[in-house]
Amino acid sequence: MRYGEILTAGVLALFSIYLMVKSAELPIGFIRGQGPGGGAWPFWLSGIMLICCAMIALNWWRRTSPPSQSDEPFLDGHGWRTIGLVGGGLIGFIVLIEIISMYGAIAVFLFYYLWFLGRHSLRLSLILSLSTPLLFFFFFEGMMRITMPTGMSFTDPVFDFLYDIIY
């Protein structure tokens, strides 16, 4: 955790500097007749962020913050594995949205989580992963008139059938 604290502070300090540089693309001072320039607000705030990072580093060096006193690892092997499986599932979910539609991706993600990670029965996993996207479809598209991504063209026949029901 101690190593993670200083590494994160360093990354955030670099990010603050980057934000300052990007903000300075617009005027950062006071322009007579116009008030503060467009970059002033984010520039000075990013400057404060940088100072905060320096203070966090100082606290780390003085070992005053709880993470700087901790010898625990940031995440243990099991933690990395769990986050990898769940996070990987989420990345897969988002990638699939543009391929098999939002509703198709919901079905696949739910099945992966319920059956593979949750160890639920095949029957329950299938029921939930197929009924949830249908429910979402009728709520969002039918009731709220909010259109979700329909994926690539091979999903069209399914959506034509569903749209015939609600329109």
Binding site: K22, L26, F30, G38, W41, P67, T82, I94, I97, M148
Partner: protein
């Protein structure tokens, strides 16, 4: 007495069968829309606006106002049950609502939210009825320096919301403010902070993207990592006796927060640029500062739920005031309501109370009825929400992930935002592990777009002299209070460190 007579007539209009039906339908629809992450009162009112052309204008605006009410009640439901604030007005409810739910007291959290919302709404209705014209002129006296001072006060309460690690809290506030500045400069219209030259950043980062990332994805990843995915389900079954006992506890433990939220919420709500979000946040901050048990805030304090819930309901009624009396909408939802009124041939402004007296008092009467209806409908549905929480965690967790992604997309209809939600979720997990408070960042991204233009307009007014925030009669005291509040935690920390140094010597 004359006002009471007019109010009585208004209530009779609101109680007409069609209007009553519209109130119940509106509140129920609003409750579910508000409970859905990504959808809020503004979606409900906007989507259902065309339907209202089927009924008379008074019924139409009553229906839309009822949706607004229902959605305000509903916002707390996703905050408590899922840990995702469905709308910016319910962010502060998440701070204590979710921890209380995690302790198996979701019912207490939901009952507290319902009762506080009801009291907040009732107090606001009474003030609205009695003092509408006077308060409208007070609201008008708030210029950019006063609004900025108010925002500064809200930021000052953030410092109190964070952990003892002040640099991390200030970093979090500034990060939220900078993220809120991405997109276009509001005054010059020039592109600003287009990170890594990705054009998708031109549209800015919405509050909901950060909130869903932090509270939806980040919170779930953190819970899964901490508990190794084996979360004990300790939510008890809901019974009528249990709910009655929770109601008693909510009133006993949450009266102070409710009172603070009810009055503060209304006065912040009537200010044209403020609204229910700063109101709920400030109410939370003030409730924490004045509490005898401030250490319980963030760990499931009843006052911590009551204050923001009373405030956001009170503020939503308050925001109707500048809309009706001055024609100035106080929130996006009231802007749509205003649009609806104009379509129906009603001209909001000082003459509305004279020219369309029957309509105005019918609407005010409907506020009372809607508030009552919202309380009963909300209480009736609490067992359903509790049942949802009793699902095994391995079912609840993927559902929350799905709701986060779908809700995030529904709000902005942009896949780029979905990727940002995921990035914020992983970022939140890392920062939370290292004790960075994240609530101030989420609140700052909401208030930043209000604070920046008012600061710039104020400095333009004073030719760059910051004394404008100290010398004006309303802005001055607010600014000074805000500065004291910002300095207080630092002073407390210094006082705590001194004895330690003596021992060390």
């Amino acid at each position: 007495m004359e006002i009471l007579g007019l109010l009585g007539d208004g209530m009779l209009i609101a109680l007409q069968p069609l209007n009553l039906l519209l109130i119940f339908a509106g509140v129920t629809v609003g409750l579910f829309i508000g409970a859905m992450p990504g959808l809020g009162s503004v979606n409900g009112v906007a989507i259902l606006l065309p339907i209202t052309f089927l009924v008379p204008p008074s019924g139409a605006i009553i229906f839309l106002a009822a949706i607004y009410y229902g959605a305000m009640y509903g916002g707390a439901i996703s905050s408590v049950t899922l840990g995702i604030p469905g709308a910016s007005t319910a962010v502060a409810t998440t701070f204590d609502g979710r921890p209380l739910a995690m302790k198996g007291r979701a019912s207490l959290a939901l009952v507290t939210a319902a009762i506080a919302s009801f009291i907040g709404g009732s107090v606001a209705n009474i003030i609205f009825t009695g003092f509408a014209p006077v308060l409208a002129s007070v609201a008008l006296s708030f210029g950019p320096p006063e609004i900025f001072a108010l925002m500064l006060l809200a930021f000052a309460t953030f410092v109190g919301l964070g952990s003892d690690d002040i640099p991390k809290t200030i970093f979090s506030i500034c990060l939220g403010l900078v993220l809120g500045a991405i997109g276009f400069d509001q005054i010059s219209g020039a592109p600003r902070l287009v990170l890594f030259d990705i054009n998708a950043f031109l549209q800015g980062i919405g509050f909901l993207v950060l909130a869903i990332g932090v509270y939806g994805i980040g919170e779930m990843l953190w819970t899964i990592e901490q508990t190794r995915g084996e979360v004990e389900n300790n939510t008890p079954k809901m019974t009528a006796r249990g709910m009655a006992s929770d109601a008693g506890e909510a009133i006993r433990e949450g009266w102070k927060g409710t009172a603070i939220g009810s009055f503060l919420g209304f006065f912040v709500g009537i200010l044209p640029a403020a609204g229910a979000t700063p109101a709920s946040l400030m109410a939370y901050g003030v409730a924490k500062m004045t509490s005898r048990k401030p250490e319980q805030f963030g760990r499931g304090s009843v006052d911590g739920i009551a204050a923001p819930e009373a405030a956001n309901n009170s503020a939503s009624t308050g925001s109707m005031l500048p809309m009706l009396t001055l024609g100035i909408p106080g929130s996006p939802t009231t802007a749509i309501l205003l649009g609806g009124m104009v379509i129906w041939g009603l001209v909001p402004g000082p003459r509305l109370f004279v020219d369309e007296s029957e309509f105005v008092w019918g609407l005010i009467g409907s506020f009372y009825i809607s508030n009552m209806a919202a309380l009963f409908i909300n209480l009736a549905f609490i067992p359903v929400f509790i049942w949802m929480l009793r699902m095994p965690f391995t079912i609840l967790a993927p559902m929350i992930f799905v709701l986060s992604i779908v809700g995030g997309y529904a709000a902005t209809r942009d896949m780029f935002d979905i990727w940002l939600i995921l990035i914020f979720g992983f970022g939140a997990l890392v920062l939370r592990r290292l004790d960075y408070p994240l609530a101030p960042a989420v609140l700052a991204i909401v208030l930043g777009p209000i604070a920046e233009p008012t600061l710039r307009q104020s400095l333009l007014l004073s030719s760059g002299d910051p004394m404008i925030f100290f010398t004006r009669p309303v802005a001055g005291p607010i600014t000074i209070i805000a500065i004291i509040l910002i300095l207080l935690p630092a002073l407390k920390l210094l006082r705590r460190k001194k004895p330690a140094a003596v021992i060390g010597e």
